[in-house]
């Protein structure tokens, strides 16, 4: 018989959907700040050329960017702490954290499967190994953004933290790389959600997923 399964708990759905616009706002305001000193290159390629800032309307908005970044950071941090705390207390972390020894190999097999280079998926529970590594990795990245962000924000008061990050410039670079990582995560995540289909997406909104006969819940 088909059944409805409560796939995503209410609290998790809230944390997810609060994070989405807040992270967007942190990146957007971060770009306003980055505009004032956009130094990073990939070889000869400037990562954010002036025309891109102009196109996005992000020029000459440093003060505005800081006034957004250092206000909405509170929601970003609070939401992250609540999410991690909730997954730990509720036991949801067991689905999310790759604890099996074969996680990396499984994740690679998932990637091959998704690229149609491999037929069968490795055995999994709620999330496959690639998802587990992504969803755990993104939390570690969030922690990294928090730590490097603090180091850039207060390199004198938190001089030990800036030192831990390899200094002021290094903290800024890591903070930037992590941000690019979120953009990459977002692209893959949205792509996968589209491929997974409506039933899956709907469950992130309403919680419940329709599981047909014989399908794994």
């Amino acid at each position: 018989m088909p059944k409805l399964v409560l796939k995503h708990l209410l609290a998790i759905r809230w944390f997810h959907w609060v994070n989405f616009p807040i992270l967007f706002l942190m990146i957007w305001s971060g770009l306003m700040i980055y505009w004032a000193y956009p130094i990073y290159h990939l070889g000869p390629i400037q990562l954010f050329p002036q025309w891109l800032f102009a196109l996005a309307g992000l020029k000459f908005r440093l003060a505005e960017g800081m006034a957004l970044h250092f206000v909405f950071m509170w929601i970003f941090i609070a939401n992250g702490i609540l999410y991690v705390g909730y997954t730990l207390i509720s036991g949801e972390w067991r689905y999310l954290v790759p604890t099996q020894k074969t996680a990396w190999r499984d994740a690679w097999h998932v990637v091959l499967h998704d690229l149609h280079l491999r037929k069968e998926m490795p055995p999994q529970e709620k999330y496959n190994a690639a998802q587990q590594i992504s969803y755990t990795g993104i939390i570690v990245m969030g922690l990294g953004s928090f730590v490097t962000g603090l180091a850039i924000y207060k390199p004198a008061q938190l001089f030990w933290l800036a030192t831990l990050c390899g200094g002021y410039e290094s903290a800024r670079l890591i903070h930037f790389i992590l941000t690019m990582g979120y953009i990459g995560f977002f692209a893959v995540h949205v792509g996968q959600v589209i491929l997974a289909g409506w039933n899956n997406f709907r469950s992130m909104v309403i919680g419940w997923e329709l599981v047909k006969e014989g399908e794994k819940s």
Binding site: W17, L62, M66, K154, P155, A156, Q157
Partner: protein, 259 residues
């Protein structure tokens, strides 16, 4: 491990009906939450400005400032560097500095005013500051734009200056205000940061007297603040218990601007 999450098993028709009901409810609530979030964001962004920042954001920025101010400590220092780390510091702001004349002569500087509660205003000269113990440090000068340059500075600690020129018995104030002559550029500082051991009234940069564009003859160097607070060519120092205004604060930047 079995899925611990609740499940509903119903005959097919009823299951679809239940799913539609849950769907309607879920998406309606999600739309309301999204609309609420957009509304709240718009309300914040369209609030009346307080010094060029919507006031709810300004409140949070001021809260952040107070939080970090309470954490400022004489032992929390900007790291020191060696002479080989010294880089080139561009002159990034000429606010409050008058143009040099056609012959390249700098406008005259006749010392700076010192004011404060219970203090008879006096004019002090460079020699008055240089009579204090000299300190030299090689620290990072951080611009609010995001870049930073290591520089060597020579000057007297503002803490020593305050000890000497604030008359005995005069109570220490919460803030200090510094400005160029004519107050075209001005900064407000919390006293804890001002009295920090790395805060100098500096007259030399990288072993040479300050150039005009870097604030000759006397400027503020306060490594625990962004460059915007490092006032050039001091014309006025005023102790005060009211939070002084600040040039860039009025343009929408954080008042505290501390590192």
């Amino acid at each position: 491990m079995t899925n611990r999450h609740p499940q509903i098993v119903l005959p097919d028709g009823e299951l679809q009906k239940d799913l539609h009901k849950k769907s309607r409810r879920g998406f309606l609530l999600a739309s309301l939450a999204a609309a609420g979030a957009v509304g709240a964001y718009k309300a914040v962004r369209l609030s009346a400005d307080d010094n060029d920042v919507p006031w709810p954001q300004r409140r949070v920025l001021d809260f952040n400032g107070k939080l970090w101010r309470s954490y400022v400590d004489n032992d929390h220092l900007m790291p020191s560097y060696s002479a080989s780390d010294i880089g080139f510091l561009k002159a990034n702001g000429q606010y409050g500095l008058d143009e040099e004349d056609d012959q390249g002569n700098q406008p005259a500087w006749d010392g700076f005013q010192l004011q404060g509660p219970g203090l008879k205003p006096i004019t002090l000269q460079l020699a008055d500051v240089q009579s204090l113990p000299h300190h030299q440090m090689i620290t990072k000068f951080c611009c609010i734009e995001g870049w930073s340059v290591v520089q060597q500075w020579t000057g007297a600690r503002f803490a020593d200056f305050t000890r000497k020129f604030l008359p005995p018995g005069a109570s220490p104030t919460q803030y200090v205000y510094m400005a160029t002559d004519g107050e075209d550029y001005y900064v407000g500082l919390d006293m804890k940061s001002a009295l920090h051991p790395q805060t100098l009234l500096a007259w030399a940069q990288n072993g040479k007297p300050l150039t005009y564009e870097h604030g000759a003859p006397l400027r503020l160097i306060i490594p625990v603040k962004y460059g915007i607070k490092n006032l050039k060519r001091i014309g006025l120092i005023r102790y005060t218990n009211q939070r002084p205004s600040d040039y860039w604060y009025e343009q929408g930047y954080d008042w505290f601007a501390g590192l």
